[in-house]
């Protein structure tokens, strides 16, 4: 993964956010809680968090912190970092589920990595607000599974009236799917698993060639001073190809390749593909990961695990509530996702998904981490979000009890230091 590029994207997005935050930059929000789950450090009993200018400026014992006069004070039993959904389609996929609000999957061609989520994300989609009301403050959202290579993703905050206001990282990953869902019927390709891999490999090899041509031309440009030479060398550049440009970014580690694969054989194909091209991939969904632990460990890939409550049918028939716990024990980096839902419920809430994992072998601490700091690290945004630390974004979720308990409520959410409503019971 190319940190420099991600940082640049983060910074650009950060500037957009700062401009949005203006006018309330001086607002001070203080959250007092019986328990602050910082995730990065030990929990703090009877603690307080002071947020200013959209950032966390102090965290500690409530008695030791001075609360500025005029501060907005919120109280909760438990506070966690704002939750992060490591893989969703919310914002591209909408609540009503009609053409009008469904931009998560373009089926005109099986290979379209050039499709940008930025151009498709609806920041004001109701489902974004809905999941925020349960504490989700950051989402990695984008194109859905269902085509061999369906398009790109973004990382966004669950606030803002436009993608520019919400954006944290543009073009974070390219999505691919190895499943029945991305197979075509009749004489269309890909019609088989073998053809799926052949098509992916062919396209990736084209990207390798494209990179060779562009880097050669760029090298020539660097070593030449005269304008004449530059124009001559620009002539060596191949015509711009958005599809291959995107995949060159994958080859260069500037974008991750997210491969949705549930069956063990598809997971194996994904790992084989990653090894062939020397790229690191994110294994998405991975229902049968519990049968592939040694292989996943050896390949050092990260798992964006299916929702705990995903349906045990089709290619997920053998999924297990205990996979999260098993990945944790095996030292495999993972986060629990909300995923894509094509029908009802239209969106899943990672808080609920992690809760079920916590009831099936994952410790409560690890379960919270799997929807906060762990996805932040995977997405390369841990310098901004994922834990309650001074200097990080003031993204917090407030609860009136154990966040995982069915009957607990999310009583408020803070994003970039601004207070939003928690869940509605009215």
């Amino acid at each position: 993964m190319n940190r420099k590029n991600i940082l640049r994207n983060v910074t650009l997005a950060g500037l957009a956010l700062l401009s949005f935050a203006q006018g309330r930059a001086d607002d001070v929000v203080v959250v007092k809680a019986k328990k602050i789950i910082t995730v990065s450090g030990k929990p703090i009993e009877n603690g307080a968090i002071v947020c200013k200018g959209g950032k966390i400026v102090s965290v500690g014992d409530v008695a030791s912190l001075s609360i500025p006069p005029g501060a907005i004070v919120k109280e909760a039993i438990v506070v966690t970092p704002g939750l992060i959904d490591v893989r969703t389609c919310v914002g591209l996929s909408g609540i009503i589920n009609v053409d009008h609000d469904s931009d998560q999957l373009e089926s005109s061609s099986p290979l379209q990595p050039e499709l940008r989520a930025t151009d498709a994300y609806n920041a004001t989609e109701e489902l974004v607000e809905y999941i925020r009301s349960f504490g989700v403050t950051t989402i990695h959202t984008g194109h859905a599974p269902g085509e061999l290579m369906s398009g790109q993703t973004i990382v966004a905050k669950t606030i803002g009236n436009s993608v520019e206001e919400s954006l944290l990282v543009d073009g974070r990953a390219v999505c691919a799917t190895l499943a029945e869902a991305s197979k075509k019927s009749g004489k269309q390709s890909p019609g088989t698993r073998g053809k799926q891999m052949a098509m992916l490999r062919t396209l990736m090899l084209e990207a390798v060639e494209y990179r060779k041509k562009t880097s050669k031309a760029t090298d020539n440009t660097k070593t030449t001073d005269s304008k004449e030479a530059v124009s001559k060398d620009t002539g060596d550049l191949p015509p711009r190809n958005l599809r291959l440009e995107t995949l060159v970014e994958v080859l260069d580690g500037k974008k991750a390749l997210l491969i949705t694969a549930d069956r063990a054989q598809d997971i194996a194909s994904a790992l084989r593909f990653a090894a062939e091209f020397g790229i690191s991939i994110w294994l998405d969904s991975a229902a049968e990961a519990h049968t592939m632990i040694p292989q996943i460990q050896a390949s050092k890939v990260t798992v964006l695990l299916h929702p705990s409550m995903a349906r045990a049918s089709g290619e997920k028939a053998n999924l297990s509530f205990e996979t999260a716990s098993l990945l944790r024990k095996s030292g495999i980096p993972f986060a629990i996702q909300g995923g894509f839902e094509p029908y009802v419920p239209k969106a899943r809430v990672v808080l609920f998904e992690a809760a079920v994992a916590a009831a099936h072998g994952l410790s409560r601490e690890d379960a919270i981490e799997s929807i906060t700091l762990s996805p932040a690290k995977i997405l390369g945004i841990a310098d901004r979000v994922g834990s309650i630390e001074v200097g990080k974004d003031a993204d917090l979720a407030l609860y009136d009890g154990d966040p995982f308990e069915y009957t607990t409520h999310c009583v408020g959410v803070i994003v970039n230091g601004k207070v939003y409503n928690g869940e509605s019971s009215k």
Binding site: G94, I95, I96, N97, V98, E126, L127, Y130, I131, E288, H290, T291, M309, R311, A312, S313, K316, A317, N318, L319, S320, F321, E322, E341, Y343, V344, P345, K346, A347, R348, V349, F352, A355, V356, A358, A359, H360, F404, E405, Y406, T407, T408, H409, S424, S425, K426
Partner: protein, 458 residues
């Protein structure tokens, strides 16, 4: 609670137990026959009876396939021959009743017509589907297995008992709930709103949907008039019509209508049709029930609701909310929950009630919504749904509050037999999932394995 012909629902579980025993004898050469009349007393448990206040330290006594007593420790006499099981730190509640399930790989009506009441779901159920084992892992003991909602009338539903103890059922007949005549009991599935609309011959509008249904019920009325006029004279009887005779059963309240409906106006349309034709209806899903709670309460029809993690997926479900159970209950509507499995996973059925409590629903009512209220909606409240003397010994042992995320179902008992045990690795596979959990259950090949082993040894 409902004007259903109760006499048709007389228990015959004893007879079924005998049948089960005979089949069981097939394997007696290596297993001790199950003592049919064994008495077991679970003591010191926290007991949710569903019909009385929660008993903090209670006793449940089961003999054979029935409950013989339940009450507080010290207030219930434990028979001297009873096997006593200390259930301290355990909760016991009635077996969960799901009023709306699609477990079993089911399909009834096909695409040829929007109205097919003569088609039976029981002819399509695969009892070896692992979904049944998952349902047991969630504490479910009774299911109303339904066809889908893609038709105005998609066929007859069937009420099943999860008799999966031992080697489990071989065919659907082994899990049916029967009336005193041996006839399988079930309801009739209907739907309105967008799911049952489509290209002709399916309706394209709500008005057409209601018209098509009225037309058929009127036909059924006329058919029944002919049957009555024939006065049992075979020569004067009209030719049997499986579709129409099913609708007649519904109008005679011998068959409960289970009606999929989401939007507030669709809900009211169902009530209007039920009142016109006199069928008893359970309103299912009822996403916008909270908008017409008073109207539903006035109709006295009950609601079996679904609870989903988010609203949407279709326009009709856009205003679905956790508060639905609370609002309906407070308006005086009887409320049960359902899984709609595979829409929600039967293993997480209790979670639906818990999320309703999250939005303010009364806890006792929510627990009834998993048990007794569902039994009432199937017309089976005389046999199941609560822990009371004389009822079927269908119950669940849990390690804590059923409405907590951390609570696990430890054992599920159906008619006095343990049908799920979390400590048994074979059962645990279905509770947790894992390699093989998605495969069909192995058939029980009576005597085959033994014969093979014996032959091999010789």
């Amino acid at each position: 609670m409902f004007p259903i012909h109760r006499r048709t629902f007389v228990r015959d579980s004893a007879r079924l137990a005998v049948v089960g025993g005979l089949i069981g004898k097939c394997s007696t050469s290596f297993a001790r026959p199950y003592p049919l009349e064994e008495t077991i007393a679970w003591t010191n448990a926290k007991i949710v009876t569903a019909s009385t206040p929660i008993i903090d330290k209670g006793v449940l006594i089961v003999r054979g396939s029935s409950i013989i007593d339940v009450g507080a420790v010290g207030q219930v006499a434990i028979p001297s021959n009873a096997k006593v099981v200390d259930a301290s730190d355990r909760w016991i509640m009635p077996g969960l009743v799901c009023t709306h399930s699609h477990v079993g790989g089911v399909g009834a009506a096909d695409g040829s017509s929007p109205i097919q009441p003569g088609v039976r779901i029981l002819d399509s159920i695969n009892v070896r589907e692992p979904g049944f084992k998952r349902a047991l892992a969630g504490g479910l003991t009774t299911l109303n297995i339904m066809p889908g909602s893609g038709h105005l009338i998609s066929g007859q539903t069937v009420y099943c008992k999860l008799r999966y103890a031992g080697h489990g059922p071989s065919t659907i007949e082994d899990i049916l709930i029967r009336d005193s005549n041996g006839k399988a009991i079930g309801g009739l599935k209907m739907a309105n709103g967008t799911n049952s609309q489509g290209d002709a011959p399916f309706p394209g509008t709500r008005g057409k949907s209601a018209f098509l249904v009225r037309e058929q019920y009127i036909k059924a009325r006329e058919y029944n008039a002919k049957v009555i006029a024939a006065k049992d004279n075979p020569d004067k009887m009209p030719p049997r019509d499986l579709h129409l005779e099913t609708l007649v059963e519904a109008m005679q309240r011998k068959r409960i209508v289970h009606h999929h409906t989401h939007r507030h106006d669709d809900i009211v349309t169902v009530i209007r049709l039920a009142q016109e034709f006199g069928f008893h209806v359970v309103l299912h899903h009822v996403s916008e029930g909270w908008k017409v709670a008073k109207e539903i309460a006035a109709s006295k029809f009950p609601c079996s609701i679904i609870v989903l993690d988010s609203p949407g997926g279709k326009l009709e479900a856009k205003d679905m909310a956790f508060k639905n159970g609370r609002v309906l209950d407070e308006a005086g509507v009887r409320v049960a929950f359902h899984t709609d499995d595979w829409i929600t996973d039967s293993r997480l059925f209790a979670r639906s009630a818990a999320l309703a409590v999250r939005a303010g629903m009364n806890r006792d009512k929510a627990l009834q919504g998993l048990t007794l209220a569902g039994a009432e909606m199937l017309g089976l409240e005389d046999r199941i749904g609560s822990l009371a003397p004389g009822k079927d010994a269908d119950f669940v042992l849990l390690n804590g509050d059923p409405l907590s995320v951390y609570t696990r179902v430890l054992e599920t008992w159906v008619e006095g037999k343990k049908a799920f045990d979390l400590s048994n690795p074979d059962d645990r596979l279905y509770a947790e999932g894992g390699a093989g959990a998605g495969s069909e259950l192995d058939p029980f090949l009576c005597c085959y394995a033994q014969a093979w082993q014996v032959g091999g040894a010789k």
